[in-house]
């Protein structure tokens, strides 16, 4: 049913697009028709696939490292209470910095290669993961903690057996936000300075007025982001099997 609805929405969108190009007689350098875009996708499939690879790589590594950083920060703030009052303001300041503005700086620091993109992604997504996970860790049912206390559990065992699993649904919502943001981070990084990637390709195509290629790249990017999001979502649902859903 969801699948069918998706197809219907996509088809009607393409239809409206094609019709508006025909009715308003828009030139291809302003808005290419879907047919032109798919033609561009077909002729440039090798180029796009090649450039996708580095974007995918950056996104996956950035997502992994950002999640790792975010969850470590959440665990540290839970465990070493004094750290929280020192760390939390820093985290919030890091989010007040616009990623777009510091991305050029990151390119200067980390180079034109993959590293600066990974750092950009990490900067963008460690916070949603850290704050969601930290929130979950703080909200452990106090009755569970009392029970563990009476059962003679150590702080570490209580954390491992009760607090972390109990916080996983929170962590999951943070990770979902992060997964949706990660490809954006990669594109920002590539726009600012890169020699590879879908963002680089789009910027080049734009400069050369190859608007059809730009749209083709955009479609691939959207497709990849969706695949990534739904894979992560599936995985999370598999591992957090006890979470209630309506």
């Amino acid at each position: 049913m969801i699948f069918l609805r998706g197809i219907i929405i996509t088809l009607s969108f393409l239809l409206v697009w094609q019709l508006s190009v025909i009715i308003f007689q828009l030139p291809a350098y302003i808005l290419p028709s879907p047919i032109q875009v798919f033609a561009a996708l077909y002729t440039n499939v090798n180029l796009i696939a090649q450039e996708s690879l580095s974007t995918i790589l950056e996104t996956l590594i950035g997502l992994f490292l950002g999640t790792l950083l975010g969850s470590s920060l959440a665990l540290m703030m839970t465990f070493f209470r004094p750290l929280k009052s020192w760390l939390l303001p820093l985290l919030i300041v890091s989010q007040a910095l616009p990623t777009f503005a510091i991305a050029p700086l990151l390119v200067i620091w980390f180079g034109y290669g993959i590293a600066s993109k990974i750092v950009t992604i990490m900067l963008m997504l460690f916070f949603p993961v850290a704050s969601a996970f930290f929130d979950g860790l703080r909200r452990t049912d106090s009755n569970w903690l009392d029970l563990a206390n009476i059962m003679g559990a150590s702080t570490w065992r209580t954390l491992w057996c009760i607090r972390i699993p109990a916080a996983l649904p929170h962590f999951a919502s943070g990770l979902r936000v992060a997964t949706a943001t990660a490809p954006i981070g990669a594109i920002i990084g590539e726009w600012v300075g890169a020699s590879h990637g879908l963002g680089f390709l789009m910027l080049n195509a734009n400069a050369r007025m190859q608007i059809d290629l730009m749209f083709a790249t955009l479609i691939v990017l959207v497709f990849l982001s969706l695949v990534l999001y739904f894979s992560i979502d599936k995985l999370l649902k598999y591992f957090i099997y006890w979470q209630k859903e309506n």
Partner: protein, 252 residues
């Protein structure tokens, strides 16, 4: 299991913010007997239980008490606890939930696993070993909680309204089951249900007033669980209800 000691609580004191819940409270829990504690809501019954279990309190609470056991040993690691809610962990199966204490202390073994299965059989959950809590009814979940509590095999058992969230029939069944399984333990049972106290208790104490005081314990002679059709039970229930109504008025 270690031999169950008698417990004496002396000069228990608890203040929450500016509100004195109780002061100079004394209480005696006889060895291997069930003491039922009744009284109006918010009077401090659970606080007394938490004080006994040495559970952490927030910074707004000040408390103190002298706790003496008949064998002179501290209470630490000799208590098991059954709460009003089952406190099952939703990501663990029934069997894993029953073994929670051993999992937390890293003491899981083949023997204890077998004991857990035996206990789950006893509480009537032989077919639910590998089910998750959300697949069970409230009564079944509380049975798992009971099995988890009993598997701890501690001489002292603290119960805080353990059956109050259940329907009447399930509650009566679980009371019966519990009574047969907690023999030889020193038990403190907090309840709102006079009938429950009369069925399960060896002695009944009423907590009332502001700050709260404890009544003299009323002793019940024959062995629990007492039969529901026992005319003595009904007569006592009437008297107890009167006392509780009085206690409620006194505590307003």
């Amino acid at each position: 299991m270690m031999h169950a000691p008698a417990i004496t609580i002396k000069n228990a004191y608890l203040r929450y913010k500016n509100h004195l819940l109780f002061d100079q409270l004394n209480c005696y829990l006889p060895a291997s007997k069930t003491t039922c504690l009744l009284g109006p809501s918010g009077i401090g019954k659970t606080s007394l239980l938490r004080l006994l279990a040495n559970l952490p309190v927030d910074t707004k609470t000040q408390q103190a008490a002298e706790i003496i056991t008949s064998d002179g040993l501290p209470l630490t690691h000799r208590i098991s606890y059954l709460a009003q809610t089952d406190l099952l962990l939703p990501w663990l199966t029934c069997l894993e939930n029953t073994l929670l204490g051993y999992r937390l202390r890293k003491q899981q073994s083949h023997t204890i696993r077998q004991q857990a299965e035996l206990l789950l059989n006893k509480v009537g959950l032989s077919k639910a070993f590998n089910k998750y809590p959300h697949e069970l009814s409230g009564g079944m979940r509380q049975r798992v909680a009971l099995a988890r509590t009993l598997l701890e095999d501690k001489p002292i058992l603290l119960m805080d309204e353990p059956f109050s969230a259940l329907d009447t029939i399930t509650r009566l069944q679980l009371q019966e089951l519990t009574a047969t399984l907690i023999k030889n333990k020193t038990v403190l049972l907090i309840t709102h249900d006079p009938l429950e106290a009369l069925r399960l208790g060896h002695q009944i104490i009423i907590m009332a007033g502001q700050p709260a005081k404890l009544s003299e314990p009323s002793l019940l002679n024959n062995k629990p669980p007492r039969d529901l059709t026992d005319p003595f039970l009904l007569q006592q229930q009437g008297i107890l209800l009167q006392q509780l109504t009085h206690a409620n008025e006194k505590s307003l």
